[in-house]
């Protein structure tokens, strides 16, 4: 069974069913914004949200993760998460971002067991985006409000009901296990879905990204980098809130004889990221670090993985304390006038 209609009144039972075998995470509205948290019942879920403040990547690459624990210098335990989770209502851009990070952590010779265990044990139900903001530009970087990459089930919010479509076997098995709540979708449902998707795609602002890889290839020493990075304060919020940023640091945390080796978020915007023990730093100032961030997402990643590592979610644009707008930087690099094409 590939598709199903779930009326919102049945949502609570659907969530209960999910909870029997999964820990369910969903967007929860809090004072400072919407965050992905574990929910106990359907009414905690903020279905009509724009996008969460922190990306759901946090559930796969936590801000701090224990690689192993040790005592008196001896390895004790390697805690690899094995609990099954379900993420309900993730936006397609975040799901797309996860499929990008999968390429880094799932290389044939060097696989990351911690991340992949979480990915394998999680089913993703993404919610088609019918509320793009003025800072979104997913359609310009290979994404879209209804892109299915990275998610197991794609859901569309049709007024008082949800149309569920399975995109992977995991999704299909979940839908068939919830058959008793789902009805067969009618043709009108599918048309309504197409209308919502088309309308939403039109609403997403577009920016000029084509040609950026070629410009970056030649653009390493361009003076525009210091112009772009002049305002930057090196706070790293753009990388901590970016769904495709995966850089991490490994340190040891000790208390008495016990301790643990932890993996924590890190950012290319921090000076210590590349500081050598000899004191030499290949990227000493904010200019080089801002250049690294843009080069990595739009040139190095394309060269290594064939994909742009930006999904156009706009979080870095909205949360930068000095309003350093990635879209303006992109348009500065691709040679267009540095003005942001607002909603057409």
């Amino acid at each position: 069974m590939k598709q199903g209609i779930l009326t919102l009144s049945e949502l609570t039972k659907f969530i209960e069913l999910l909870k029997t075998s999964y820990k369910v995470f969903a967007p929860v509205k809090k004072e400072e914004g919407v965050f992905f948290e574990e929910v106990n019942s359907a009414d905690d879920i903020a279905l009509g949200y724009y996008n969460s403040k922190l990306p759901p990547k946090r559930l796969f690459l936590p801000q701090c993760e224990v690689l192993c624990t040790f005592e008196n210098g001896q390895l004790v335990e390697i805690p690899i998460a094995d609990e099954k989770c379900a993420i309900f209502g993730m936006r397609p851009c975040d799901a797309l971002a996860l499929s990008r990070i999968d390429m880094v952590f799932d290389k044939e010779d060097l696989k990351d067991p911690y991340y992949l265990a979480r990915r394998k044990n999680t089913v993703l139900l993404s919610l088609v985006c019918d509320k793009p903001l003025d800072t979104c530009f997913c359609t310009s970087v290979g994404g879209g409000p209804s892109s299915g990459d990275g998610s197991d089930i794609r859901m569309v919010h049709l007024g008082n009901r949800l149309l569920l479509e399975a995109l992977t076997e995991k999704g299909e098995s979940l839908i068939s296990s919830a058959k008793q709540f789902l009805k067969k979708p009618k043709q009108s449902d599918l048309e309504e879905k197409e209308k919502i998707v088309a309308e939403s795609e039109k609403k997403v602002p577009r920016i000029k990204v084509d040609g950026i890889k070629e410009n970056l290839e030649k653009g390493f020493n361009l003076p525009l980098w210091s112009a772009i990075a002049e305002r930057c304060l090196g706070c790293g919020v753009c990388t901590y809130l970016c769904p495709t940023c995966y850089c991490f640091d490994i340190t040891d945390e000790v208390k008495g004889e016990k301790g643990k080796r932890i993996r924590t978020w890190d950012s290319c915007q921090y000076p210590l990221f590349t500081l050598h023990a000899s004191g030499h730093n290949p990227r000493p100032s904010k200019t080089e670090r801002m250049r690294q961030r843009i080069m990595h997402k739009f040139f190095y990643a394309v060269e290594n993985f064939g994909r742009t590592f930006c999904v156009g979610c706009g979080r870095c644009v909205r949360s930068c304390p000095v309003n350093l707008d990635l879209r303006e930087s992109i348009e500065l690099i691709t040679g267009n006038k540095a003005c942001v094409s607002t909603r057409k």
């Binding site: 390895l75 060097l110 500081l275």
Partner: protein, 279 residues
């Protein structure tokens, strides 16, 4: 699935102090478990992460050659948190080794060529591994002439003094050891490595050069080799970078699109020319 973040347990069997300043020590590590030793198959040029639980890890080039069975050698300079802790440990202490990481020197390509090894300061570790590997009876016939030029600031700072002794008496290797500033009792050459390379002027015909040392030495040695006629593709360098994961995931050791820990640390000069000067 093999967990690339967990080190193999090893024990420090022997610590030898390499220089008078006592900030360079060579650690002889023995695997606790035999099967780890089998898994740890490596070639000269690769490095590994030395892991001290409670302090962290640090990437160090492997100084021993795969032909020396049963142990690993690492020469470590006291610099940061992990290395200082290592320097204050005694023999018998249990630490961890994670690896082998990175790509070794291009041995298949080097077969049938003359090898010129130019080393400076304490970056001579992987070059010692390469020399020992080449001098091994099974491997020596595969390579042509082997010339080594190794320099350090003062005689006291020279690494592997015992090996240098043995090699100087070995006719299968032409060894030139120099010091920037001689102290009394030093009978060998005196002068900076790039000048000695100019003086000795190894022939570039069918030769590959392995160059490893502090950035200042590399910056002056490369033009000398190029003038002598070495092709850019035949000059091979090993780079230093800040590293944490060592397996191309933590995103910090990149030069352009290449990651030093996975695509390196060994690069040809031609490859480096194609990358931005950000190292």
């Amino acid at each position: 699935m093999e967990n690339p973040y967990i080190p193999y347990p090893v024990t420090i069997e022997e610590i030898t102090i390499e220089n008078e300043a006592r900030d360079l020590k060579t650690f002889k590590l023995v695997f606790d478990r035999k099967e780890d030793e089998e898994k740890f198959r490596y070639l000269p040029g690769q490095f590994a992460e030395l892991s001290l639980f409670g302090k962290g890890e640090s990437p160090i080039g492997i100084a021993s050659s795969p032909t020396e069975k049963g142990f690993l050698l690492f020469t470590v300079k006291r610099a940061g948190l992990v290395t200082s802790e290592l320097h204050s440990s005694e023999t018998g202490r249990k630490i961890g080794v994670r690896g082998p990481l990175g790509k070794p020197f291009p041995w298949e390509r080097m077969e049938g060529h003359n090898i010129v090894i130019v080393g400076g300061g304490f970056a001579f570790t992987t070059l010692r591994s390469a020399i020992t590997y080449i001098l091994h009876p099974q491997n020596r016939p595969k390579f042509g002439k082997l010339m080594t030029i190794y320099g350090a600031r003062t005689p006291g700072e020279l690494l592997y003094k015992k090996d240098l002794e043995i090699w100087s008496k070995d006719d299968r290797i032409e060894l030139h050891v120099t010091v920037d500033k001689a102290t009394e009792g030093w009978k060998g050459r005196e002068g900076l490595v790039p000048n000695i390379v100019k003086e000795v002027s190894p022939s570039p015909k069918n030769a590959i050069a392995l160059v490893c040392g502090p950035p200042i030495m590399i910056r002056f040695t490369i033009p000398v080799l190029l003038n002598l006629g070495f092709a850019e593709d035949d000059i091979i360098l090993s780079l230093e970078m800040r590293m944490k994961c060592g397996i191309g995931k933590c995103g910090r050791c990149n030069i352009g699109a290449r990651y030093v820990c996975v695509d390196g640390p060994v690069f040809t000069y031609k490859e480096l020319e194609g990358l931005p000067a950000e190292y």
